[in-house]
């Protein structure tokens, strides 16, 4: 039977291939959207651990987390280090790590912070940021780079680099002060891999004499080592990562921050901000999924239409088979078997296509955020979804199969 089905399908190759393409593409899209969504969610959620709160200027909590943790978007405001020191002295605060953002190096974001960043900020649950080579920055001119930066730019320990003013690749360079790589971080699969870390003081130093995005005094004319370190401590930072002594007082502390009288600041729980992001993205996901199920439905209708319109031209084929002893059930099962073959071929191509799409999406996601997602073949739930689609195809094919059965039963063929 399968031989006859395959030969018959070969004779109608173009419409059958088109139906398979339509079905497999829609199946692949359906699965890929789900996969990319899940992988992105996991990647984002695992990018920052150990930080109880992100303190920043009052505004959108989600935006604050996106630009401080994921380097997406640009900070619009800063908070003063006076406020930072005031907040840090609160008995509920165990540690505070300030970050100042804004500059870049050959497309990679520069994060100016303290070396405590590498002690307190974690990823993927409870994993510490490890050094593949070297040590954290200590001196003004020292810089730590993420694994992706080192790999892409081919940097090693001791490599000199200049920081570019602003996040644009073609911005003005701070070419009067060279940093030197003191440490290279081990890969984390998070935005850390694509970051360049310098000390707050070093960052402040390269901005000395800058006004409105232009350089007025060159550092070449200055002896940086003669400037006392505490004089280079910045007046403002972009945000502060906070660790609390006890999680019990989290919401009380957020309230305290929100009511802070001297400056408009707010504190955000990173997970809560991300949950806000997922609820926004989730609606778009749902819309895409509904659209995809519709496309799958249309593809299945297309398959049935193809079978139905082909039935008249296949009357002779059916008659010959009937004359050879094929029962009406056997003829109907030919139609169902054809649907099954189409379904299996569509599923097989969909699996390959999903892997391809996931791979491409993972690459895009990594380029965009630095988050590296795991590539997997087919999860049981995905396999179940594909089986449901094939079964739906078989159910819809019962219509032409029943027609074939009705046409052949008790109907003479010698005339």
């Amino acid at each position: 039977m399968i031989g006859i089905v395959l030969a018959s399908m070969r004779s109608r190759l173009i419409p059958i291939v088109l139906v398979i393409v339509a079905l497999s593409t829609s199946m692949a899209l359906l699965l890929a959207i789900d996969r990319v969504h899940d992988a992105t969610k996991t990647g984002f959620n695992q990018s920052l651990s150990g930080v109880d709160l992100v303190l920043g200027p009052r505004g959108s909590g989600l935006e604050l987390v996106l630009y401080t943790v994921f380097h997406l978007g640009k900070p619009t405001n800063n908070i003063t280090t006076t406020t930072l020191s005031d907040i840090s002295n609160d008995p509920m605060i165990e540690w505070a790590v300030p970050v100042a953002l804004g500059d870049s190096h050959r497309g990679f974001r520069v994060i100016s912070t303290t070396s405590e960043y590498f002690d307190y900020v974690k990823f993927g649950g409870d994993q510490s940021i490890e050094f593949a080579q070297g040590v954290p920055f200590e001196k003004l001119h020292e810089v730590v780079i993420g694994s992706e930066v080192a790999k892409t730019l081919g940097y090693n320990l001791g490599t000199s680099l200049f920081v570019t003013h602003g996040s644009e690749t073609l911005g003005k360079s701070h070419d009067d002060f060279a940093f030197q790589v003191s440490g290279i971080l081990a890969p984390t699969g998070t935005p850390t891999d694509k970051a360049v870390f310098v000390s707050l003081e070093g960052y402040e130093l390269i901005h000395l004499g800058w006004s409105n995005g232009s350089k007025a005094i060159s550092l070449r004319d200055l002896d940086a080592s003669a400037i006392p370190r505490d004089r280079l401590y910045p007046k403002t930072v972009t945000a502060v990562y906070l660790g609390l002594t006890s999680k019990l007082g989290l919401f009380k502390f957020i309230r305290t921050v929100n009511e802070y009288p001297d400056e408009a600041i707010s504190a955000v729980i990173p997970g809560v901000a991300l949950a806000e992001l997922w609820s926004m993205v989730g609606a778009v996901d749902k819309a895409f999924q509904i659209l995809n199920w519709l496309i799958i439905g249309i593809s299945l209708v297309g398959m049935v239409t193809m079978t139905l319109t082909g039935l008249d031209s296949r009357t002779r084929e059916m008659t010959i088979l009937r004359s050879l002893g094929a029962s009406p059930y056997a003829l109907a099962s030919l139609v169902l078997l054809e649907t099954l073959v189409i379904g299996i071929l569509a599923v097989t191509s969909a699996v390959g296509l999903v892997r391809l799409l996931t791979w491409a999406a993972a690459d895009l996601l990594s380029d965009w955020t630095g988050i590296r997602t795991e590539l997997t073949w087919l999860a049981p739930a995905e396999f179940f979804t594909l089986i449901i689609i094939v079964l739906a195809g078989l159910v819809t094919s019962l219509i032409p199969a029943a027609m074939v059965y009705k046409r052949s039963i008790h109907r003479g063929f010698l005339n």
């Binding site: 030969a7 018959s8 002779r316 084929e317 029962s327 009406p328 039963i409 003479g412 010698l414 005339n415």
Partner: protein, 219 residues
């Protein structure tokens, strides 16, 4: 006795009814059924094939009564014991001549078991019917009507079914080819185990058969 029908009639509804003459077909007999258009020749063949239900009377093939058999069992009887040749368009267009010739064996283990060496049997039947060897490798679109009809004969013959039924098999052939085709068909039949019933309105072929059965127009 290969086939026996008794008091067989078929009611088309709206008062049109055909009463068929009783048939007793012996092994090796070649019979032609003649009658004017609309006399029910094709209906008789459809009844003998088991695709139309026996309403009145009886049909017995190899001592099995059709009335005792379920539709599925009748399909099996047809697959095992009846070879059918159509008027034209006998072959499935997407299969080669060979695949068309052996198609019937897919539906009948009994017939398949009766063929010892399939390739040799098909080749021998093809030679007997005057088909060039490469004909079997070609698809129907590359064959003449006569060649297609001969492949249909091979398909009907393979596995030695007891009864060969042919519905106007020569209607698309010229008189010379018709004579040749019927002679080859009759020669291919094993006279000890097989019988042939051909329906035709061509009086020229009557002398090529052992017996002629005439059907009267329907009442």
């Amino acid at each position: 006795m290969i086939l026996e029908t008794t008091a067989l009639s078929y009611d088309f509804g709206s008062g049109r009814r055909i009463q068929f003459p009783d048939l007793r077909i012996l092994a090796g007999e070649k019979v032609v059924v003649v009658g004017p258009s609309g006399s029910g020749k094709s209906t008789l063949l459809n009844l003998l094939c088991g695709v139309l239900p026996v309403q009145d009377g009886s049909i017995r093939l190899l001592n099995q009564s059709y009335k005792d058999l379920s539709p599925l069992r009748l399909d099996k009887v047809r697959a095992d014991h009846i070879g059918i040749i159509f008027q034209s368009l006998n072959l499935i267009p997407y299969l080669s001549g060979f695949d068309n010739a052996v198609l019937g064996l897919r539906f009948s283990k009994a017939r398949k078991n009766r063929v010892k060496d399939l390739a040799r049997t098909v080749a021998s039947l093809a030679t007997q019917l005057g088909l060039p060897p490469d004909t079997l490798e070609r698809n129907p679109s590359g064959l003449s009507i006569g060649q297609q009809q001969r492949i249909a004969v091979i398909r009907a013959m393979l596995g030695y079914p007891a009864l060969i039924l042919a519905d106007e098999p020569t209607s698309a052939l010229d008189p010379v080819a018709t004579q040749q085709f019927i002679s080859e068909l009759n020669k291919s039949v094993d006279s000890s185990t097989q019988s042939v019933i051909v329906v035709s309105h061509d009086p020229e072929i009557i002398p090529l058969f052992d017996r002629v059965i005439e059907i009267e127009p329907a009442s």
